[in-house]
């Protein structure tokens, strides 16, 4: 199998697995317990919290463990709503956010919260000026993803952060695709909240974190025990948290070399495909995640190509798929101005740590072959 859908999830690092296994076997204490095995679990969580804080330039007490990106995103919005209960509340976000942001926004809007969705340009990037122009006296939160999950477009987070700091508006970024893959420091970027998910950087599914800057008023999403400094109740996912700490530390230690390597892989893929298939287009811009490319083809469905590649053991993603009888078209591809036909003719390839340059050539050849089969033409004449 060749797995090139690392924007969906990543393979657990083998060295991280070694570090986690004891916590899934003998070291199974509850971190809230006061005897040795519990204390060990608590210490392991503290180590992870520290590893993560160092990785993003935060303080350990600013890291809150969650079940992943969707919970972290929902938490920020729910908390803001609770903190400004019975007061005018305006939130700004973009049209290309993950559904865990878009859907909580739609839900809040049903309850009287004013939401502004800022469009993006053809590159998939939001304008800081557009954000600034949309600010109102009662704007309390702006949420802009760090890098888009479908086209990889990196957003002008620094510029937006500078504007919002001056205007004293809280800034949240969904950095699920960026953490562990792009250089990122919350202090330099004037970010108040940051969302991350462990399984996007070779950790385990079902665990993530929320960076919440110290001294910001915040409400719990889950009530119960006093875990996470009274912010999030529930026994901690110790193996997941331990894995996340080590996985992020590992990712940061190889970030520069991985960035260059993945960038080269995407360049070679684009070059290879363009040399063999006419009408190829890259959706989005060059300022994108190093390992991610969203490619459009002429006259075929991305879903067909995805299934054809699956038959050959290659895992890619499509931005439009027929599930449960519905044709779901990517809101991101539509937001950058693609027609429904073009959006449906696209696939996403996202390289990760375990992909090799040999696989790039195999992927290009497999795509060319599948494209020819779908078009019903000879591989030699495409």
């Amino acid at each position: 199998m060749i797995y090139v859908d690392n924007a969906a999830t990543t393979k657990l690092s083998s060295s991280v697995l070694d570090k986690v296994l004891p916590f899934m076997a003998d070291e199974y204490g509850n971190p809230s317990s006061l005897y040795s095995i519990g204390v060990k679990a608590k210490r392991a969580i503290d180590v992870a919290r520290n590893q993560i804080a160092i990785a993003i330039g935060a303080s350990p007490n600013e890291i809150l463990f969650t079940s992943g990106g969707s919970e972290s995103n929902n938490w920020v919005f729910q908390s803001i709503k609770d903190c400004y209960h019975n007061q005018p509340l305006h939130i700004i976000t973009t049209e290309i956010e993950h559904h865990s942001v878009l859907n909580i926004c739609h839900e809040l809007s049903k309850n009287g919260v004013e939401i502004t969705f800022i469009p993006v340009n053809r590159n998939g990037q939001v304008s800081p000026v557009a954000i600034e122009n949309a600010l109102k006296p009662h704007t309390r939160l702006v949420s802009v993803m760090f890098a888009n999950n479908e086209i990889g477009a990196i957003q002008p987070i620094l510029e937006i952060g500078n504007i919002l700091k001056e205007r004293q508006v809280l800034f949240h970024t969904d950095a699920v695709q960026a953490v562990g893959h792009l250089p990122l420091n919350v202090s330099n970027l004037n970010i108040n909240f940051l969302t991350a998910s462990a399984h996007k950087f070779n950790g385990i599914m079902g665990v993530g974190f929320l960076f919440k800057r110290a001294n910001i008023k915040f409400q719990p999403l889950i009530l119960g025990g006093s875990q996470e400094q009274n912010n999030r109740a529930g026994t901690e996912n110790v193996p997941g948290i331990v894995a996340m700490g080590h996985a992020l530390e590992e990712s940061m230690s190889i970030l520069d070399t991985e960035y260059q390597r993945l960038r080269k892989m995407t360049e070679l893929t684009i070059e290879g495909l363009k040399s063999k298939i006419s009408g190829i287009r890259v959706n989005g811009c060059s300022d994108r995640l190093p390992g991610l490319i969203n490619i459009g083809f002429d006259g075929i469905l991305g879903e067909s190509l995805m299934h054809m590649l699956d038959l050959k053991g290659i895992c890619v993603s499509t931005s439009a798929a027929c599930t449960a009888g519905e044709n779901k078209i990517s809101h991101v591809l539509r937001a950058i101005g693609l027609s429904e036909e073009c959006a449906r003719a696209s696939i996403r390839i996202s390289f990760g740590r375990y992909n090799t340059f040999e696989e790039v050539e195999m992927i290009v050849n497999a795509i060319c072959s599948a494209y020819a089969k779908i078009k019903g033409i000879s591989h030699q004449i495409i």
């Binding site: 075929i300 469905l301 879903e303 067909s304 299934h307 054809m308 699956d310 038959l311 050959k312 027929c322 599930t323 449960a324 009888g325 089969k373 779908i374 019903g376």
Partner: protein, 65 residues
């Protein structure tokens, strides 16, 4: 709806699954269809593999099958 025949071997009266698989893998607006054996040969995969895929598509809620 008129019965469809295999574009390659002319097998008569292709099943809903065979028609659905051609549409799913090659072209949702296909006008020529393959029986399961000819499609497996065309795509260079085992017939059993395609049958497994049909079950996967059904589980995903695809209504073509």
């Amino acid at each position: 709806m008129s019965k469809k025949n295999c574009y390659v071997c002319n097998k008569q009266g292709l099943s809903r699954k065979e028609i659905g698989l051609t549409k799913k893998l090659l072209d949702e607006n296909a006008t020529r269809f393959y029986c399961i054996d000819c499609l497996a040969e065309y795509l260079e995969v085992d017939k059993e593999f395609l049958l497994d895929k049909i079950e996967e598509f059904k589980e995903q809620g695809c209504t073509m099958f």
